[in-house]
């Protein structure tokens, strides 16, 4: 190919990707840099000016932000490990050819993540109401003596949110593990069986290490998802149009950003700062997870 021809080829290539590049630039790259710039602005609404590190200083003194941060971290620390372990156990169980009704169980466990958010939120609200089916069942089974205030007591509200997102996302993660498990050569397990490696060791010493890249992937994904948690706390634990109830006990960083922009007098600069803090936390946590999962 001559130089002129290759230049024409290059031009045609750029022309083909130009529409996508323009859209990405306009609606993604530009806003990202704009929000970074905004995070150094102070002021209400469209009336703002450069404030240097004022927003970051404000973060350190903002009790609502600190509450949202600690709530988010509690969700992260409790929910992600529980969900990952459950997804792993489900995947291993459902990968066993001896199990009857595998296809139905797989579908049943995967279904929540494709269920409409609003529909499931309404159901959860009804099921976990003080006089809802959950309390009735638990009382009938004598697990509890008085109804739990799932949506009124701060502690139980957090438990409810953790239950909801675990229910919704466990099957999603399980599918990744199932796919990875099916790629493991079954003769490896047969070799281990013949060599007298007990079942628990086959799981911890063969399955888990073999799934390590997928576990890392799902952990990073779930961490990001939980740090951005917004849907459930704005629907299930919302009352009178305000999410994160009761008493901000389920207020998350994402919800706080939303409130800063759309519930209170808009403060674009401060909201952008909180957004960038989430980015920073995601980056740090992902880096740590990659370090931990690195092959030694």
């Amino acid at each position: 190919m001559s130089n002129a021809e290759s230049r024409r080829g290059n031009l045609a290539g750029w022309a083909f990707i130009a529409p996508a590049m323009v859209l990405l630039g306009l609606f993604m790259v530009y806003p990202i840099f704009w929000s970074l710039w905004m995070s150094f602005q102070t002021g209400k609404g469209l009336n703002f000016k450069f404030g240097g590190l004022a927003n970051i200083i404000r973060l350190t003194k903002d009790p609502v932000f600190q509450h949202a941060l600690s709530n988010t971290m509690i969700f992260l620390v409790v929910q992600v490990p529980v969900m990952i372990v459950m997804a792993l156990l489900f995947a291993v169980a459902l990968n066993n050819p001896a199990l009857k009704g595998r296809a139905i169980l797989r579908t049943a466990i995967f279904l929540p993540c494709v269920t409409s958010l609003v529909a499931y939120s309404v159901l959860f609200k009804s099921m976990f109401a003080v006089d809802g089916v959950v309390n009735h069942t638990l009382m009938a089974l004598h697990v509890i003596s008085a109804p739990i205030g799932w949506m009124v007591e701060p502690f139980w509200a957090k438990v409810l949110i953790i239950l909801a997102i675990t229910w919704r996302w466990t099957g999603y993660n399980m599918v990744f593990y199932l796919a990875a498990l099916q790629n493991i050569d079954p003769s490896m397990y047969e070799a281990a069986r013949i060599d007298g490696v007990p079942a628990w060791a086959r799981f911890t010493r063969i399955t888990i290490p073999m799934l390590r890249p997928v576990i890392l992937f799902t952990t990073v994904l779930s961490t990001i998802g939980t740090l951005q948690l917004f849907d459930e706390v704005n629907t299930i634990t919302a009352s009178a149009g305000n999410g994160g109830m009761p008493a901000d006990s389920t207020l998350t960083l994402s919800l706080y950003i939303y409130n800063l922009l759309f519930k209170f007098v808009p403060n674009y600069g401060y909201a952008a700062t909180v957004s960038w803090l989430i980015v920073l936390i995601v980056a740090v946590l992902s880096w740590i997870q990659f370090q931990v999962a690195k092959e030694r």
Binding site: S187, M188, E190, A192, R193, I194, G196, P209, E295
Partner: protein, 356 residues
């Protein structure tokens, strides 16, 4: 080292019979090869011995102990898989020592055993590598090493060389033969490659559709097959089979324009007009003899040391493979008089059973 006894061993998956009653005696230190076409049940039989497949009927004894219901790990066996089945996240050393950890061996004991096995297999320089950094042959050696460290009574090999290229396969074949001499181990080896079977085995077990067709030493099976299946399966190139008719004390070959040859000496008398199948190995033509066939050469294969001529008579469909001594001058289209000793011809009845 232990021997094994298989008595009426059966395996069924639902209504499908896969192993239909296998009786077999395997002596201590014997190298036994299960061979047969794909789907003959050879791997299933091996997996039943290993304890990876349950036994539907019959008895399996290892070292005199009935092990039908004994867990795979307690049978005193070690297995080498076709896919090697190495643990990819462990180094060679960890792969080889992994099982010993669960057998209650101390660290020094494990190191000693692993090092000893590594020395036997020449793996010393590779001990800290992961399987992905090894060649196919090296991986196979690690898999064998992993079996050796357990000091099993019986080694099981499931098509261990099938994933290797031709050159490496020959090399590993020799290594396995040497290993058998060094370890004096009882080995059961599954392959579909009859050359591996011929070269490695003390005893070959030819299987077809879940049944044992014949058991014996490689040369016994080569020289004296019980039936047409074994005769055709063992030996490369394949034995020539010609339909023949007994007529006037001679064998008439309709596929070769009614050429005839003297009837080979048999213990039984064949009635006039009896239909039989004549089996002639390509190499019977090398030495010459009193019988001969007149053929026309169609294709000549020069292998350097050997020459194979593919020849037929006129337009007949029957093509004969003939090994020729000093065949370098042969050309397609030439006439060939292939002579042989009629005593080396084998006869089979219409059911494929050998006539002796």
């Amino acid at each position: 080292m232990s021997g094994l006894t298989l008595k009426g061993l059966r395996k069924a998956y639902g209504a499908a019979q896969v192993i239909k009653g296998v009786d077999l005696e395997i002596l201590p230190e014997e190298f036994v090869v299960f061979v047969g076409p794909s789907g003959c049940g050879k791997s299933t039989l091996l997996r039943m011995i290993a304890g990876l497949e349950s036994i539907s009927g019959g008895d399996l004894f290892i070292g005199g102990r009935r092990v039908n219901d004994v867990d795979a790990s307690q049978r005193g066996i070690a297995m080498v898989f076709q896919s090697y089945a190495l643990y990819p996240h462990m180094t060679v050393r960890e792969n080889m020592g992994f099982a010993l950890k669960f057998a209650g061996a101390s660290k020094t004991e494990i190191t000693a055993k692993v090092d000893a096995a590594a020395a036997i297999l020449g793996l010393g320089a590779l001990m800290d590598r992961k399987p992905r950094d090894l060649s196919g042959g090296q991986r196979q050696r690690v898999a064998i090493g992993r079996a050796i460290v357990r000091e099993p009574q019986v080694f099981l090999f499931d098509e261990p060389l099938s994933n290797l290229d031709a050159e490496l396969r020959v090399h590993m074949r020799i290594e396995i033969a040497r290993l058998h001499q060094d370890l004096k181990a009882t080995i059961i080896y599954v392959t579909h490659d009859q050359i591996e079977a011929m070269t490695l085995a003390d005893k070959i077990v030819v299987l077809r559709e879940g049944r044992v067709e014949q058991t014996g030493s490689p040369l016994k099976l080569y020289d004296d097959p019980d039936n047409i299946f074994v005769a055709g399966f063992i030996g490369s190139p394949k034995m020539n089979f010609l339909s023949a008719r007994v007529q006037g004390g001679r064998l008439v070959l309709p596929e070769l324009a009614d050429q005839s040859l003297p009837l080979p000496a048999l213990q039984q008398a064949l009635p006039e007009g009896a239909q039989v199948t004549l089996g002639l190995r390509p190499d019977v033509f090398k030495r010459g003899g009193s019988a001969s066939l007149s053929l026309t050469i169609e294709i000549v294969e020069q292998l350097g040391g050997e020459t194979f001529a593919y020849a037929r008579v006129g337009g007949s469909a029957q093509i004969m493979t003939i090994a020729v001594e000093d065949g370098r001058a042969l050309r397609p289209g030439q006439a060939l008089v292939a002579s042989f000793d009629p005593a080396r011809a084998l006869l089979f009845d219409t059911d494929g059973q050998r006539l002796r």
